[in-house]
């Protein structure tokens, strides 16, 4: 057992209890002087109820503007080994699939260059290496790239895209989220590594409306799988479920558009009225499946509160085919049209969703060349303060 440089009675309290302890994790790397000082500083935060980290200062790898976040101790004279304790974001593989060799390679690299502490994963999806000195940044990057890994995004760039498990292990995937995520990430390497946007831009790829990667809340561009035809029904399996599921109460009554009827023998779905909410499919996965005409809904503008308040994404394209053979050209074209407009007119630290609210969705759509359609709104406007232009006098040909 490594001898501890500082007493940490408060942190030690968090080694107790059944849930895995982050304090135990930190102590597993306590043979490093950096970790000893980290424990000392975090204990101080627990005593004083305040963070002792400073940010700022330009750190990074040559030629990139993102991927490394500068972190410094404000108690650097006391805890000298964490005076510099920078964060590295490493672009994760699609859907967070690994094999043991890949994990060991990452561990070996981080063992040589930093604290030995990681996040699997950071909030946006990257593998996070927590805590290195400035001196180690380039050597770490060299080792990573030689082993086939690259940094993720930070700052005002395209952040690391992420995706759900998709067709790799889910019967509900309406498009290939892993391929789309990988393709888009590779296509926009420049935008990922070199911040030149007004603020961050996030892509998230969910294979169905269950949205396991929270794309509608956590991304500027949510690519959410959906279908246009009929839910596939296996009536024999519905009967099996009827033995344990109260289909009227648990399925029909919860259907948001009341489009399911059950007569005790078979399930009838009014498919044109189905809004693809997934509830019935979630409850009876052996009996029901999304249809075969599959693609994605594209929603734009989600974000957390900073700066102008939290927003959920809103519908831009109700249905887009997501055939891998198309190289996702339509999605890329839409993305670049939005980036051009927002890049030119967006204010500093203004996310796309906030920009849309400032300039108006109608104006935004006109500029990027999308026609307004009723799927984009919950309801038409109720106020009569309309800005008319001459177009209203034109007769349709």
């Amino acid at each position: 057992m490594t001898e501890m440089k500082y007493k940490t009675p408060l942190l030690d309290e968090l080694e107790k209890g059944p849930w895995p302890s982050f304090v135990k994790e930190i102590k597993k790397e306590a043979h490093r002087p950096m970790i000893q000082d980290l424990l000392g500083q975090v204990e101080r935060s627990y005593e004083e109820k305040i963070s002792h980290w400073k940010h700022g200062g330009l750190v990074g790898v040559m030629g990139y503007g993102g991927g490394v976040i500068g972190r410094y101790s404000d108690l650097a004279e006391e805890f000298t080994n964490v005076a510099e304790f920078h964060t590295h974001r490493i672009n994760q593989p699609s859907a967070w699939f690994y094999n043991s060799d890949a994990l060991r390679t990452l561990c070996d690299i981080w063992d040589r260059h930093g604290s030995g502490l990681t996040n699997f994963h950071g909030s946006t999806g990257d593998i996070v290496f927590l805590g290195s000195t400035t001196e180690e940044i380039e050597p770490l990057f060299k080792d990573l790239t030689e082993a086939g890994w690259d940094l993720g995004g930070s700052g005002s760039n395209m952040r690391t895209p992420s995706c759900c498990v998709g067709p790799a292990r889910c019967e509900w995937a309406c498009y290939d989220t892993l391929d789309a995520c990988y393709n888009i990430t590779q296509q926009f390497q420049d935008e990922l590594h070199r911040p030149f946007f007004p603020y961050k831009w996030k892509f998230k790829f969910s294979g169905c409306p269950n949205d396991c990667v929270a794309s509608i809340a956590r991304s500027d561009c949510s690519v959410m799988g959906t279908w246009r035809d009929e839910i596939q029904v296996n009536q024999a399996q519905v009967l099996e479920y009827a033995k344990t599921v109260d289909i009227d109460a648990e399925i029909c009554d919860f259907c948001p558009t009341s489009c399911i009827e059950w007569d005790g023998k078979s399930l009838e779905i009014d498919n044109p009225n189905c809004v693809k909410c997934m509830h019935c499919i979630n409850v009876m996965p052996k009996a029901l499946k999304p249809g075969n005409d599959r693609g994605a809904t594209i929603l734009i503008g989600g974000k957390a509160p900073i700066v102008g308040g939290a927003l959920l994404c809103s519908v831009f394209v109700p249905f887009l085919e997501m055939d891998p053979k198309s190289d996702y050209e339509d999605l890329k074209e839409l993305t670049e049209a939005i980036w051009d407009l927002w890049g030119e007119h967006g204010k500093l630290r203004e996310r796309t969703g906030e920009f849309i609210q400032r300039v108006g969705l109608s104006n935004f759509l006109e500029e990027i060349g999308l026609d307004p359609i009723p799927e984009m709104v919950m309801a038409p406007r109720s106020n009569p303060y309309i800005f008319f232009d001459d177009e209203i006098f034109e007769t349709e040909e």
């Binding site: 408060l10 942190l11 968090l14 209890g17 059944p18 895995p20 980290l38 975090v42 627990y46 004083e48 109820k49 305040i50 963070s51 002792h52 980290w53 940010h55 040559m62 972190r71 672009n91 994760q92 967070w96 699939f97 690994y98 094999n99 043991s100 890949a102 994990l103 060991r104 990452l106 561990c107 990681t118 996040n119 699997f120 994963h121 060299k142 790239t145 690259d150 498990v165 067709p167 889910c170 019967e171 892993l178 990988y182 390497q189 949205d211 929270a214 509608i216 956590r218 693809k276 997934m278 979630n282 996965p285 052996k286 900073i306 700066v307 308040g309 939290a310 959920l312 204010k347 630290r349």
Partner: protein
């Protein structure tokens, strides 16, 4: 000869990490079943099966533990594993007989199996005092204290529906907690203190002024130094100014704390995605185990578990019974802070006489 510097290669292609059974049945899965808490099987149209064992993690992992996971994956899964979007580890097995030995070994190592179906999955969370500059509270410690108590809800499937708990240590919300069944959110409650001597050296004033959502920051000359002033009554302590300018100190040991929000969701199942709403505006920081936060979360979870219908998420249940009933059942005091007064505040006012008496 100069070293060839490798850049812009992007992540490794995921295909090399997929287990053979996944490669063979990619996009051809037929259905899945949860066999028991934390264990599920996916069955392909071909009849092939892949078994998943899911276990919770503290997200912050030592490479010692990651190597252990790699060893377990070699021993039981031909080296194959993945992580979920909520920081759970998933071991991917093709041999059903390996499930129980794997569970025994991974739990022995300290990582509980569960988080599937109508249960609490892992709490997604942020860095807190372990690694963040603007944290109003610690993330890992609060999450650890809450999960120690919630563990049975992780290991069983006895909730009405899935319950998503998230933690963010400030309004930046790196954890994007704003659409969670229960969100635990660190809050600052006082305007930042400006270090005028440092500010001109560290910060660009126009950027700093632009960072404020309420326009509370304006340029000012203070003691002959070009700096800024803050209109305190306009400040709602988001800390965005601190993130762009380290000389505007938002952290305050005496007045920082935690708020609790409820009823959000991201999935489209049944009702549309929705934001979490304020339940408890402020609980003082009480490290190392934040007992008041743990108690508040447990109370909300237990009341929800007892009262919601099967399949109802927290927000759906509250919408059915009404917010007055929620506050009554949970013994949470409704205060002036619960009434929105930011942009579009009127959207949350009750503009109907439909009231439960």
């Amino acid at each position: 000869m100069a070293d060839e510097r490798i850049t812009d290669i992007g992540p490794p292609n995921y295909e090399q990490f997929l287990p053979p059974v996944i490669k063979k049945n990619y996009g051809k899965w037929d259905y899945h079943e949860i066999l028991k808490p934390g264990v599920m099987v996916h069955v392909a149209e071909s009849g092939d099966k892949i078994f998943t064992v899911r276990c919770g993690s503290p997200r912050l992992l030592a490479i010692t533990s990651v190597r252990k996971f790699a060893d377990l994956a070699d021993k039981y899964c031909d080296g194959h594993l993945r992580w979920t979007s909520r920081n759970n580890v998933e071991f991917l097995l093709s041999d059903e007989s390996n499930i129980e030995p794997l569970i025994a070994e991974v739990e022995e190592y300290g990582f509980p199996v569960g988080g599937m179906g109508n249960a609490i999955s892992n709490i997604v969370h942020t860095q807190g005092w372990v690694h963040c500059h603007s944290a109003a509270s610690d993330a890992s410690g609060t999450v650890k204290a809450v999960m120690d108590e919630l563990l049975p809800r992780f290991q069983n499937m006895d909730l009405p529906a899935k319950l998503r708990v998230a933690y963010a240590c400030c309004l930046n919300m790196c954890g994007a907690v704003h659409c969670s069944d229960i969100a635990i959110l660190g809050v600052h409650t006082r305007a930042p203190v400006i270090e005028h001597d440092d500010l001109p050296k560290m910060c660009e004033i126009p950027t700093l002024v632009a960072s404020c959502p309420t326009g509370a920051i304006r340029p000012a000359t203070v003691d002959g130094v070009q700096s800024v002033e803050i209109i305190e009554e306009q400040c709602m302590y988001c800390g965005n100014c601190y993130t762009v300018c380290p000389a505007v100190k938002i952290n305050n040991a005496q007045t920082d704390g935690i708020s609790i929000w409820v009823g959000g969701k991201v999935s489209n199942a049944r009702v549309a995605p929705k934001f979490s709403k304020l339940a408890i505006p402020f609980i003082p920081n009480n490290p190392p185990r934040w007992p008041e936060v743990v108690e508040a979360v447990m109370k909300i979870v237990n009341v929800y578990a007892e009262n919601a219908k099967k399949h109802e998420r927290m927000g759906e249940w509250i919408d059915r019974i009404g917010w007055p009933k929620f506050f009554e059942l949970t013994d949470i005091k409704f205060t002036k802070y619960h009434i929105d007064d930011f942009k579009h505040a009127g959207e949350t006012f009750a503009r109907t006489a439909q009231i439960r008496h």
